[in-house]
Symmetry: C2
Subunit: 369 residues, 2 copies
DNA sequence: CTGAAAGCGCTTACAG
DNA sequence: CTGAAAGCGCTTACAG
């Protein structure tokens, strides 16, 4: 019933504190001031500007001089101080991602794609959590002050709002739930074709013979009242195409299995319901559970389809028919967009095509006879 | 089947580039050089050192002067440049977390706890992913160069190895799988009592009447050959206490449901097996699935217990008996440890007691008669 | 209580 | 091809 904390105070001197030639305390390597550009210059017998040229791969350095400097760098274990670099050059190889969540599968996977791309490009990655209680402007200002660029994950309302508040002159890319409205998008952004994916999932159920399909929504980043998210739109459009009047959508109040369970009560107990499309897999798990408690079988009595293809969705029973998304690809693409913006790329980034795909498993089938 | 990328190049000027009084391009606010300490000083009619005093809450500033400076700060929207602050002061309010994973529940939740604590303390949080392919020393050097402190998530071998390689003079705290061996721990660290939790879970199964309990392991951060992780130890110890010879543990080759499914084949098809403790909930889901495919019911034929209590574990069928962990608490505590180290706290941090708890649900019950 | 100086580690012009 | 100067925005002593 306990978590333990143990503290070891082995080194009373802060490495970040100003150096003094303090006597080495205790065993181990003595606190070692990092070599600076001047130390390297001295060791190589050149001026420190020349060192700067070498570490920045600038031309106009004699081959032999360059070699001597490189040897000194190696010998002293020199690494350029990123803080000083940032201050002097005005360039920060940093990307800060703003997100309201880091544990839900879609968010976590997007974050991972972002991280991989950032690391590959030599960027550091920062994370700032968006919370309703927190002062949004404060969070944004502090993110901007950190330098570098911003990537906002705009899957939900909080993220979308944050995106709207990013000052126009701050380099920023976004991964969003749906294409921004209007012809001149305010920001570089990436998104998956959720609308089409939802349409295909709904059509799959209709093709199976269901007379209609109910929808349990995730909270959307776009208006809750007058408009709905792309997944809901795709569902609605598939029904309309088939000449079916869409029933009232459910949900919209949460993302997790508990929210799915709670919000599916009405659906689960309505014998007319034979097919439910869910805004994500967690919600679908909750629906499965509600159906179980209502004594209805899946897919015998009711078919259920999820969204996102979380790693465990193929291993629950019944395994979940769902839409596979490429969140990591979205993250990578968003980083690429930001980087182009940051580094003044001459050409606009090439469109990439990461896929969505309907994965049919056990939870969907024909309606009861 | 597509993800779309759209690029908007609304602002050709980089905000991070050196300012020039560039003509404002297009609509929107013109690129605005952030106010500096000198701008504030000018506006307030004082020297910039006085501004420095005010923003650092230093004494020895006349009340009226302070007020004038604060007004100027407000009027100009001044925010101290963190990069310059870091360079001049040698203090970086940044924590970089090193982790091999960001999507598995335990990692993601720990990260979230870290983020919350960091934000509350006014620290920025960076994330660096640890990969087997990557050069560990390079990753570490770059993390250290970013300044501030490190928190490494040492749940697995990669994390534990990284922790071992952190130079002794770098401020660092860790969240680890098990208490560090030896009496003088090398680093401030936090951990939960996994051993005791696994013991309790195993005892629960024994109390239910099972003759023995099998174990499906997660990969451990500690030696795979001569030693085993704390969860395995707790399981083993509970069996031994009950006078039962522990069977050979399974698993150790992966963390997710697929790994659980694959590694549970032998257990699932062995009629003598009536109880399985799993290293985490994902593994348990895979075991449930393997059992289902083998035609064995849970908990009728076999009881299954997981670890971690992931958010959906209560909503699968059968719902999972599992051990609830306080990963967020672990993250918060690790940050507190690091902060104390960074800010030279006089007192060692007080031990905190975050809980683990056995949550009994549907997947465990008495053995078949 | 307040100001003038020097410096953090680097870069970008500007000389030679 | 290489060096001396000025500056990034702030802080920490040091004067008054």
């Amino acid at each position: 019933m306990t978590a333990r904390v143990i503290a070891a105070h082995t080194d009373p001197m802060s490495v970040s504190g100003h150096k003094g030639s303090g006597s080495p305390s205790g065993p181990g390597p003595e606190p070692h001031r990092a070599a600076s550009i001047r130390d390297v210059a001295r060791a190589a017998g050149v001026s420190y500007q020349t060192v700067s040229r070498v570490i920045n791969d600038r031309p106009n350095v004699r081959e032999e001089t360059r070699r001597r400097v490189e040897d000194a760098i190696e010998a002293l274990g020199f690494r350029r101080n990123p803080t000083a670099f940032a201050l002097a050059s005005g360039v920060t190889r940093t990307v800060t991602v703003l997100t309201s969540n880091t544990t839900l599968y879609g968010y976590a996977a997007t974050l991972q794609g972002l991280e991989e791309a950032a690391r590959a490009a030599g960027y550091s990655l920062g994370v700032k959590l968006l919370t309703p209680e927190d002062d949004l402007d404060r969070t944004l200002t502090s993110a901007v002050a950190d330098g570098g660029g911003l990537v906002v994950i705009g899957f939900d309302r909080l993220g979308a709002t944050a995106l709207d508040h990013v000052p126009a002159d701050v380099p920023c890319a976004a991964v969003v739930e749906a294409p921004p409205p209007g012809r001149t998008p305010p920001r570089p952004a990436v998104w998956a074709d959720d609308r089409e994916a939802a349409r295909a999932a709904t059509a799959h159920l209709l093709d199976l013979g269901h007379r209609t399909v109910h929808y349990l929504a995730i909270p959307s980043s776009v208006g809750t009242r007058h408009s709905e998210g792309p997944r809901a739109q795709g569902w609605r459009s598939a029904l309309e195409t088939a000449g079916v009047t869409p029933p009232e959508p459910h949900g919209g109040k949460g993302w997790d299995a508990r929210a799915g369970y709670d919000q599916a009560q009405a659906l689960a107990h309505d014998p007319a319901v034979t097919a439910v499309l869910c805004g994500n897999d967690d919600l679908a798990l909750g629906v499965l559970r509600a159906l179980h408690h209502a004594g209805r079988s899946v897919p015998g009595d009711v078919s259920v389809i999820g969204f996102d293809d979380a790693p465990h969705s193929g291993f629950v029973t019944p395994s979940l028919t769902t839409v596979r998304m490429d969140f990591q690809g979205l993250g990578r693409d968003a980083f690429a967009l930001l980087r182009d913006r940051l580094e003044h790329a001459p050409r606009p980034p090439a469109p990439t095509f990461a896929g969505t795909a309907l994965i049919v498993r056990e939870s969907s089938g024909p309606p009861p006879a």
